[in-house]
């Protein structure tokens, strides 16, 4: 295999087909988009706590801008931070090297996928430059809000005027992002099926590779109807069809079905790869075999299938048939059973392990704990239509899904970065800064969202610019204080991230040089040099065992790499 060649940064950034370079591009782009998403949330949270005037770094906030910021915050964090982070970054970095091969099955397609993704970012952000301003109808794009003022509602507009709107650009950006992730997903699955190292059967794959592949499959299976819906919505805006126009016999609820048929599996797409990361880290830092490997894969498959039939739990108050609502409630609640089984298996890995509290381990423990105790647990409550009728569209839901998404994308993402950083940069991150980063992130994350649970139960609705019209209900001193606690915590959370950025970029050049296998782990990537050269391995490895032989009875060392007999 060829030696690692030194090429200029720009040339490498724009033209390299190497999976590691593309993964790094995705990572930088996702971080760039996260900066936007983070800035938006800072602005609108500041407004909720301290009012819309003189927001530092922003100025005065109008109600319309508030809606635009909320909408784009949600969309960016899910489609332009979450999706690239857990699928594209992890998939690109990890799959080829963990299965012991040199690159993806289709390197060029991989590059095109990144370019499409970058284009989608540009299209989304240029929505802010449109004459009508960016789209502000909520990240779920419900009609009629997402088509009002355009198409059928305004017979006087032209195609061109309808085209250059935030709405059109938002929808096009989402569609492009889907196409990019589809190309990526196809690559992951084909690579995993066709390019595994000699001896690496499916049942010897690291759990994170399984999870990324199942997530990709789930994405590809569920995204079709939403692409159809996006197409129909675009037609409604651009050429004035009436798919979602109740006045002409169309059906706005239809959009909600098409959206959530994708939307619910999508949240698992974001969750599963991150659970895979946590699984790897738990096993490595408990120095114990992964508990219930086959059971976990089986449970994930069941949860994946079930996730395709629970979507209407987002629509309990949209006027769907109450009988159907009961069935969807039941299915939703049933889906917690496989997840409970998985959490149990993960605890089984930790049980009586020789636990090492490294930074990745802390993030992984934080991820599982906050996801389980608050995210999954409140999901169970929301799944019951009896409860959800009251909780729907309140801050209780906001807190619920942030307790699922923040652990999956951010905590899981950081766990992965801290764990694999030595491999892909060849250097180590500073441990102390890492621990400060963890505690800051974890504590402030919780102190943002716990008050929001309470506010939601008090009846505070989401997507409202100004609560002062409800002064008896939501302007009591403790309500105001709860909002302020959340906002101040958010500001601290954002400040904490600068510690990470400093650590990340400084260590790229100045960090301690990392050895080949700093965590004494078993999976194949640790057998390549750090950083791996172009082509990853000097000799293709052959595999003799599964990845979790820690503390094997026949060995003196407490680990046993996959490629040792």
């Amino acid at each position: 295999m060829t030696e690692h060649k030194k090429t200029g940064f720009l040339k490498r950034f724009f033209f390299s087909l190497d999976h590691k370079d593309i993964g790094f591009q995705y990572l930088l782009t996702a971080m760039f988009m996260a900066a936007f998403g983070g800035f938006f949330v800072y602005v609108f949270r500041y407004n909720l706590a301290f009012g819309p005037d003189d927001i530092p770094l922003y100025g005065n906030l109008a109600a319309k801008e508030y809606n635009q910021l909320v909408t784009n915050h949600g969309a960016i964090m899910i489609f332009w931070v979450g999706m690239p982070m857990v699928l594209a970054v992890l998939g690109n970095f990890l799959i080829p090297i963990m299965i012991g091969t040199d690159d993806m099955a289709f390197p060029l397609l991989n590059k095109i996928s990144y370019w499409t993704f970058l284009l989608s970012c540009i299209v989304l952000l240029s929505g802010f430059l449109m004459p009508t301003g960016a789209f502000g109808g909520g990240w779920t794009m419900y009609p009629p809000l997402s088509v009002s003022d355009f198409g059928y509602n305004n017979p006087n507009t032209t195609f061109k005027a309808n085209f250059f709107t935030g709405n059109t650009f938002f929808l096009m950006a989402v569609a492009l992002e889907f196409i990019s992730m589809l190309m990526g997903g196809i690559n992951f699955i084909v690579t995993t099926l066709n390019k595994r190292a000699k001896g690496l059967s499916l049942m010897k794959l690291p759990i994170v590779v399984w999870m990324i592949n199942i997530a990709s499959l789930l994405f590809m299976f569920s995204v079709g109807p939403l692409i159809a819906g996006t197409f129909m919505l675009l037609m409604d805006i651009l050429v004035g069809t009436g798919f979602f126009d109740a006045y002409r016999g169309g059906d706005p609820i239809l959009w909600q079905h098409l959206f959530w048929f994708f939307g619910h599996p999508e949240v698992y797409v974001l969750l599963l790869p991150s659970l895979g990361v946590v699984g790897e880290i738990f096993s490595t830092f408990s120095r114990k075999p992964f508990f219930g490997y086959k059971m976990v894969i089986f449970l994930v498959l069941i949860a994946g299938i079930l996730s395709l039939v629970v979507w209407a739990h987002h629509q309990f108050v949209s006027g769907i048939d109450p009988g159907a609502a009961n069935i969807f409630s039941l299915l939703t609640i049933i889906i917690s059973i496989p997840f409970a089984g998985m959490v149990l298996a993960y605890l089984g890995t930790l049980w009586r392990g020789d636990i090492k509290f490294t930074v990745p381990m802390m993030f992984a423990l934080g991820m599982l704990a906050s996801f389980t105790f608050f995210g999954g647990f409140t999901g169970l409550h929301l799944g019951s239509n009896v409860f959800d009728i009251y909780a729907h569209d309140t801050y209780f839901v906001i807190a619920h899904f942030h307790y699922t998404l923040f652990p999956s994308v951010i905590l899981g993402g950081f766990a992965a970065i801290y764990y694999w950083y030595p491999k892909f940069s060849g250097r180590k991150l500073n441990k102390t800064l890492g621990k400060i980063h963890f505690w800051g992130t974890f504590i402030f994350f919780n102190s943002i969202f716990i008050p929001l649970f309470w506010l939601g139960l008090q009846g505070q609705h989401r997507r409202i610019f100004d609560y002062s019209n409800w002064d008896k209900l939501l302007m009591q001193p403790n309500h105001i204080m709860a909002r302020q606690i959340a906002t101040v915590s958010l500001i601290f959370l954002i400040i904490t991230q600068f510690i990470f950025l400093f650590n990340f970029f400084k260590s790229l050049y100045k960090g301690k040089v990392a050895e080949k296998n700093p965590w004494k782990s078993n999976t194949l990537e640790w057998q390549a040099s750090s950083p791996p050269g172009h082509g990853n391995f000097a000799l293709y490895p052959a595999v003799y065992r599964w990845p979790y032989d820690y503390n094997h009875p026949d060995r003196d060392t407490d680990f046993l790499p996959q490629n040792e007999k």
């Binding site: 099955a105 084909v190 099926l193 066709n194 692409i227 239809l254």
Partner: protein, 185 residues
């Protein structure tokens, strides 16, 4: 993996694409069926009738094109390169597009417009989306044809032959379903 009989990556990729496509059309079709079930009159009373009889010839044209593709692939697997079969597939595909395009123009002349209401919205959108798929399928098969003209070794091209073929089968087999729903249902 040591297994010798690996399925080619291209075939896996196209299988996945087609599954996504099936879900895409399933979304569109189920929306259409529900919309028609909810409507009082379907198709709407004042709507001009659609040309059912010319259109059925189009169903046959696409199916026959697939049949010739099937013969071609069957031969290719034995190592026989019979490009005429492929040529017939391409020509029939183009004929389909021409007839379908003419019919569109006729309907627009009759005065059915996308903004007329649900029926026209669905009709035009579904036909257009399928039309785009036919175009994509044709592009794939034409590139295949041009590439095969240059090589004598058909075996190395087998993965793209079967993968692109799979896509064409999908596009042609979808059409009778759409025809039934849009014209007869």
């Amino acid at each position: 993996m040591t297994n010798k009989k690996k399925i080619s990556g291209l075939n896996i990729a196209f299988t996945i694409i087609i599954i996504t496509e099936i879900m895409f059309f399933a979304g569109l079709i189920s929306a259409y069926i529900i919309a028609s079930a909810k409507a009082m009159d379907w198709p709407p009373i004042d709507q001009p009738r659609l040309p059912q009889y010319i259109s059925i010839s189009n169903v046959i044209i696409l199916l026959v094109s697939s049949l010739f593709l099937y013969f071609f692939i069957k031969n290719a697997k034995k190592g026989i390169k019979d490009l005429n079969f492929l040529l017939i597939t391409i020509i029939l595909g183009i004929v389909f597009l021409v007839i379908q395009g003419k019919e569109w123009i006729n309907l627009v002349d009759f005065g059915i417009q996308t903004s007329d209401g649900l029926y026209a919205s669905y009709f035009y959108s579904i036909i257009a989306v399928h039309g785009i798929h036919v175009v994509v399928g044709l592009i794939l098969i034409i590139t295949l044809y041009l590439k095969l003209k240059k090589t004598s070794d058909i075996y190395t091209k087998l993965p793209s032959i079967t993968a692109f073929g799979m896509f064409w089968y999908f596009v042609t087999l979808l059409w009778p379903v759409l025809y039934f729903l849009l014209y007869l249902y």
